[in-house]
Symmetry: C2
Subunit: 556 residues, 2 copies
């Protein structure tokens, strides 16, 4: 059965019922239809005195085309903890609308571990991404408008770094020239569109503590430079005011439910490459105030996702995960062990063993952050007992328990073993020692080098003089104290996406550096990063439609 | 007191309370927060057997910078009819978000004749315009993607007529070149963005009877042509399926309330120049099923707005207005009589008398449609008794009653006199004879000529041979039976915006012709029409912000 069929056949509870589980009063809930709601930001202020629940981070091995299942594990573990009597909420990113019409399909879990209503969540949901696109593009319009009317701030039109955005896979917008057609249309210049999830406004939205912090961060955005390379900020264009007005409603966290009617906060969704790849701080903090346990997910593998979760999100928000769950599958580990996608159905114990190098690297990495670790083996019907045993054995020799999870087919019941381990670890003393991997006072270069050598197994990092000068310039202009946000392929510890397993001794080359002064990090690009996807030859759009009953088909 | 202050100080009723007035069951309502809701489309199907209420069209004299107040009159008349014991709903267009940050301010009425919550309605509201932008831009992406992967349909890349859209005043996007940057980004070509309200998807959305009709119309959109000038449709790109999925939720009409807690359907908002400028057919039909009276508004003056309302919307939807109210102000008539904006505060009876030429032309025009007419004088404190008397006298010599309205300061109580006249006219026999001004079987040229000579007072229409060929080509390819949608300046009966009053004997030149095959009309452009506004030197965005209490300021 397809994910969408399971989701459509589910009987959802009214969202008020989910809110009741959290102890939310009626007037703290802004319903969007019957099964979605936003939690009032004013109400959230009243929770400040409450103590936080435990925070469980779900991360993964290096992703492969076989798929790992971080989102399903997050949902399954949430349901399992609830089954065991612990009030638990999930915190997830909102999916991007654009990729739904390309290859990716939906991003709200799968099988019997989904958040619902899945069509709504995958499409417009509560409009947050539209609000973010609009706020972003208002700033773009204000830049060109300012230049059109006299350019008082003295923008160097060759040095405008604020592109436009659209929540669509549209390769034709990657590079454009705008303002053509004569004096009434402004000064022609090169520009381009990123997909909305790549917007710095999205990253800011997800890191902001409240509306005031949001406005402050928006003001810090550097949109371009003068001829003398001095930066011009959004604040100088009076943009933070109207942008905050556009984002005000969106900033309230969204509440939906899992298929087992447990609370799920689905809010914000920044890219995991040029941004930090986690749901909003506001949603996580809300969930922690309202639940005993919060299970959340970080993008990509642990080297990128969990690292940014801890070094960027947690450091900025004062959060700390109590346990990290690394999701692995037999199939993905086989691919890391050298097996082609076509041969994954055949038992291959040695390939699993070889592929576990990748898992062990991630385990060791997470230990460097001081977080207790568990391995979740997301089970497939093709997995053999012997293959599963190898993963357990290797995990245990790294001092970590590996638990079999079957939430995809069994829902929360299939993840109870993992949930019991989570309970045991979070009730032990070791679970409060999480720390960032580097100090923000280090140089930008040293921060990148620390990540490359300690997490990626690299021997060193390199960069052209131009990049080194850029880093120096950023430090001289007061941005040296920001954490770094590495944008590199998610498919390898190296910058070569074909290098699976646990490569070491390689070099990480820095290709570009971008300042995200509003979000509060310096993006360090190591490799080719796509910020506006395209549609494939036969896009999913070809099959997405309403059937005669008016239900959505083809969104999977 | 500013409009926003009045709106923010109002105590709104829960939207369920408004729904109760309409007899809507709870499960027919999809709430968006506490004060907005969508009415379920499935429920609307169950109303088919019910008889319709009376339909009141609010239109206006030729607009001037003095402002006329069609929206406030629509709201005031709705409240007045309710005060007199008649269950009445208002039907209005949704405001466009983009212009809120430019000069225009909000568009949800004013004073004590507003629909609320005004900030929500003016900003993202229930996300309809975002859904329309997304559906439109998905079609754009599918076009360029199709060409990128081989161009099987043989698009002539010089003849793509489907531009992109954004709900933003952004002049820099009017003309662009896209798909630059090499083979991965597609084939470079000229393109541009219109504001969302100018999208044909918006016009289709507002004319569709239901989701099936919507999908059918979307399929008919002509997006470009081959080298041999044969058209390529959205259907050939498989676009109607995913576009309908994106528009499904938006298509349900939005319910809000007036300041006096009466129902207002605010849904859809196509441009009144390159489209027909009325709220959605679905909203109007819903309101007619649920109310005894429905008061609705058409864009611009009666020559454009009321004409399109009757010739395009009503003809397509099988609707018929029972009475038309022409809104005029002393100040605007003075401007038509030759007075400059600065001198409007001074009494000038002769200028009012001269300006009434404009009013009389509109009265006579509306009579040609067979609709009973009333004049609403939207009162200002600077109006003198003598000036008001002139309007009454001239209206009466045209056989029409003119009633003084003070809804702006007094709410519905200020418009009861007008409401009594509406009741009288709609209960007479004459009120069911409305008809279109031309037959769709006439040639496109004759249709335009009929409007120009019978409504605009023109002697004739002209066009270059190229335009005449285009019209012939449209007739030969089967589009000759469509109604015409005139895009010309709203500030004059002529194509010269400075020619006020009631000019006659002029010539209307056709500059361009566009096919809107999905919406079902041929746009005939007579003059310069802007489909992407810009921001002014000092945009409203400079003053829009959240104050310390978290409320919106500067949106007026």
């Amino acid at each position: 059965m397809k994910d969408i069929d399971i989701a459509q056949q589910a009987t959802l509870k009214p969202i008020q019922h989910i809110a009741d589980k959290l102890g939310l009063p009626d007037d703290a809930l802004h319903p969007f239809g019957c099964h979605k709601a936003k939690v009032d930001l004013t109400y959230l202020k009243t929770l400040e005195h409450k103590s936080d629940g435990k925070l469980v981070l779900v991360t993964g091995i290096t992703p492969t085309p076989a798929g790992e299942g971080k989102t399903t594990t997050t949902v399954g573990l949430t349901d399992a903890l609830n089954r065991l009597g612990h009030a638990t909420s999930a915190c997830l990113r909102e999916p991007s609308l654009g990729p739904c019409f390309g290859m990716k399909g939906g991003a709200a879990g799968g099988g019997y571990a989904q958040v619902v209503p899945m069509e709504d969540i995958n499409l417009h949901f509560t409009g947050d991404f539209h609000a973010i696109s609009t706020a972003h593009n208002l700033l773009s319009a204000l830049i060109d408008n300012h230049i059109h009317w006299g350019n008082e701030l003295e923008f160097d039109q060759r040095r405008i770094v604020w592109r436009r955005v659209m929540d669509m896979n549209d390769r034709a917008l990657r590079q454009i020239t705008c303002a053509l057609g004569g004096p009434n249309n402004g000064f022609p210049r090169q520009d381009g569109f990123d997909i909305t999830v790549a917007s710095e406004v999205m990253a800011i939205f997800c890191l902001a503590r409240d509306i005031k912090d949001l406005e402050h961060r928006l003001g810090n955005i550097v949109v371009g430079y003068r001829r003398d390379n001095t930066p011009i900020t959004a604040k100088q264009l009076n943009a933070p005011g109207p942008m905050s007005v556009l984002l005000k409603e969106a900033l309230a966290p969204n509440l939906v439910q899992t298929l087992e009617h447990n609370p799920a906060f689905v809010h914000g969704g920044p890219f995991a490459n040029i941004a930090h790849g986690c749901n909003s701080v506001i949603a996580t903090r809300t969930a922690l105030k309202l639940s005993d346990y919060v299970v959340t997910e970080a993008g990509f593998g642990a080297d990128l996702g969990a690292e940014k979760f801890i070094d960027i999100k947690c450091r900025s928000a004062g959060l700390s995960p109590d346990v990290a769950v690394i999701v692995a599958t037999v199939r993905a580990l086989k691919m890391h062990g050298g097996v082609a996608k076509e041969a994954l159905d055949t038992e291959n114990i040695e390939a699993v063993r070889a592929g576990c190098d990748n898992l062990v690297r991630h385990i060791d990495n997470m230990k460097q952050f001081g977080v207790p670790v568990l391995v979740a083996i997301n089970q497939f019907v093709t997995d053999s007992e012997a293959e599963l045993a190898v993963i357990r054995e290797i995990s245990e020799s790294s001092g970590v328990r590996a638990e079999l999870c079957s939430h995809w087919s069994d829902g929360g019941a299939g993840t109870e073993a993992l949930a019991l381990q989570v309970l045991e670890l979070t009730q032990s003393e070791t679970s409060t020692s999480c720390h960032a991997l580097y100090d923000n006072s280090e140089s930008l270069w040293d921060k990148v080098r620390t990540l490359a050598t300690r997490l990626y197994g690299a021997a060193d990092i390199t960069a052209d003089q131009k990049i080194r000068n850029h880093l120096t310039m950023l430090e001289e202009t007061g941005y040296g104290n920001l954490p770094v946000c590495i944008a590199k392929t998610q498919y390898s510890f190296s910058t070569d996406p074909t290098l699976k397993g646990a490569p070491s001794g390689h070099t990480i080359p820095i290709r570009e550096v971008h300042l995200s002064a509003g979000a509060g990090f310096v993006v360090v690009v190591c490799g080719d990063i796509m910020t506006m996807p395209g549609l494939p030859r036969d896009p999913a759009a070809n099959r997405i439609r309403l059937n005669d009953q008016g239900n959505v088909e083809g969104l999977f």
